[in-house]
């Protein structure tokens, strides 16, 4: 799999801009190498459980399969204790993936594949590298307060928007690895927090259509809703369901699901 095959257009364009800025990559990679990456590596080893073929054989096997499909170097996998279903990835030189205990317990094997494929999608697209800049800005905001917020606010809003788009790219990676139905089912579990899901796995897609209709009722609704999500790092669940549903109708998805790579027009 190649990053360009799964990248959401807005994500791809933003990364193009990042790469065109002289020194941006260098600053981000230095900040990552000597700052956050080492910091988190220590934290993971200190506080989290490292997944190996011996202690969690099924989880480890699932990761091996996903990594083989996505075509990246295998990241280290950790489990942390949390009742909230969540997972994250970080690092550029030696990326790692951390999943919550609740996620491992509540997701079946296919759904866990989906979650791991999502995280591997971030690794494939090198999102961590550029996410570092967002972290720096957020922390600068904490340090310098109002001044930093005033100066960085437009950048922060733009980076948060990119962060939401990067999640859509990772969602595409997950859907390409496990298929759309499993993806939608995993998303439903994440949204509800429940172990067992009843009914149509595509119910979030339908809900998204209802949300779009609601949002389009008036200008005020649009403004209110846009303001509500402006600082979110992740897109809304129904938006993720709908965006991936639309992408799953594409030629690119069909090519990826079909398996062996064929020559593309571009």
């Amino acid at each position: 799999m190649e990053a360009r095959e799964i990248m959401h257009p807005s994500d791809a364009k933003t990364i193009q801009v990042f790469r065109s800025l002289k020194g941006f990559d260098l600053v981000a990679s230095i900040a990552l190498r000597y700052g956050y990456e080492r910091l988190y590596r220590g934290e993971n080893l200190g506080e989290l459980i490292k997944v190996t073929d011996e202690n969690f054989p099924e989880v480890a096997r699932t990761l091996h399969e996903v990594v083989a499909r996505v075509g990246i170097e295998e990241p280290r996998l950790f489990i942390y204790n949390s009742p909230q279903m969540n997972a994250y990835t970080f690092g550029n030189e030696a990326p790692f993936v951390a999943v919550s205990s609740s996620m491992v317990e509540k997701m079946d094997r296919q759904e866990l594949r989906c979650i791991l494929a999502h995280e591997c999608g971030h690794v494939l697209c090198q999102h961590s590298l550029y996410l570092t800049i967002l972290h720096i800005m957020e922390e600068a905001g904490d340090l310098f307060g109002l001044l930093s917020d005033t100066v960085f606010l437009p950048c922060l809003i733009a980076l948060r928007y990119w962060s939401r788009c990067s999640e859509l790219s990772a969602d595409r990676c997950a859907a390409a690895v496990v298929g759309e139905e499993t993806f939608q089912r995993a998303l439903l579990k994440l949204t509800s927090g429940l172990e067992k899901i009843q009914g149509d796995p595509y119910q979030l897609v339908r809900q998204a259509a209802e949300y779009e209709k609601f949002q389009g009722e008036s200008v005020w609704d649009k403004v209110q809703q846009a303001g509500r999500i402006a600082f979110n790092t992740h897109p809304q669940m129904c938006e993720r369901a709908l965006e991936t549903h639309c992408w799953c109708k594409s030629w690119q998805y069909r090519q990826l699901i079909a398996g062996p790579k064929k020559e593309t027009a571009l």
Binding site: Q16, Y161, K249
Partner: protein
């Protein structure tokens, strides 16, 4: 370059636009060949390096995801809309409730930019023809004697013993007389057009930035004027996209007319 980047704000504004029907002059796109439409679509969405254009909106659309690259005819209205957006001033488009200029206006603008003479009442097809003719002429002038002889041979024009100017004049005369010759030369010259277009585009950009930097010297009033000017300039038509796109449309129209004639 249009100011409408793919941001939450741009998505917010464009979401108010009512779906408009396809421009009359571009409705033929729905009957064009799949691969030709794909070429046009790629011109609009990707730059020369194969990177996505920052200002394109097409690749995020559901219709694109569903139809590219296999059913391009279904994508024709969206392609036409994107082309018009690239060819229109974004601020003016927003003020007209997100309605871009007509294709005829876009072609007229492109012809003006390329210094192609067109009549006040010429329609889009006539202006496209004039544009292609101008580009062919420029392309032919840039060819060496040997290359010109090869082109003449391919067109079955006897070129033995003729000078470079005479061969070019003979090819141009043949093009003006015969639509078949015109099409063949126009298609073979496409690559020449593009390099010509890019070269001219760079010169224009350089000239504008020089004028702007001089304006900074005019003090605070200059700054105020320049802010508006720069915003307008950024929002103005993206010629590096719409010039090759209009040329591609012109070639496609020519191709379709030819097929109609053959039938």
């Amino acid at each position: 370059m249009p100011i409408v980047f793919d941001t939450p704000l741009s998505r917010f504004f464009t979401s108010f636009r009512a779906d408009s029907s396809m421009d009359r002059d571009l409705s033929f796109l729905a009957h064009c060949d799949n691969s030709e439409l794909q070429k046009l679509c790629d011109i609009l969405t990707h730059d020369q390096n194969g990177h996505l254009r920052l200002t394109e909106h097409l690749t995020s659309k559901e219709v694109y995801l569903e139809n590219y690259p296999e059913q391009m005819q279904s994508l024709a209205p969206a392609i036409a809309d994107e082309l018009l957006r690239f060819g229109s001033n974004s601020i003016a488009t927003a003020l007209r409730y997100n309605t871009p200029d007509s294709y005829e206006t876009v072609v007229r603008r492109v012809c003006h930019q390329m210094k192609v003479k067109v009549g006040k009442y010429d329609n889009a097809a006539t202006m496209e023809h004039a544009l292609l003719e101008e580009l062919c002429e420029a392309g032919l002038k840039s060819l060496t004697l040997e290359e010109l002889r090869t082109v003449a041979d391919q067109l079955d024009i006897p070129a033995k013993g003729l000078t470079k100017q005479a061969i070019a004049a003979a090819i141009l005369a043949a093009m003006r007389i015969s639509p078949i010759f015109f099409r063949r030369v126009a298609v073979s010259m496409t690559y020449e057009f593009l390099s010509f277009v890019i070269g001219r585009g760079v010169a224009v950009v350089g000239a504008r930035s020089l004028q702007r930097s001089l304006g900074v010297l005019a003090g605070p009033l200059g700054w105020i004027i320049l802010t508006g000017w720069t915003a307008w300039d950024i929002a103005s038509p993206a010629y590096r996209v719409c010039i090759p796109a209009v040329i591609q449309v012109a070639l496609m129209r020519l191709e379709l007319q030819e097929e109609g004639r053959d039938a």
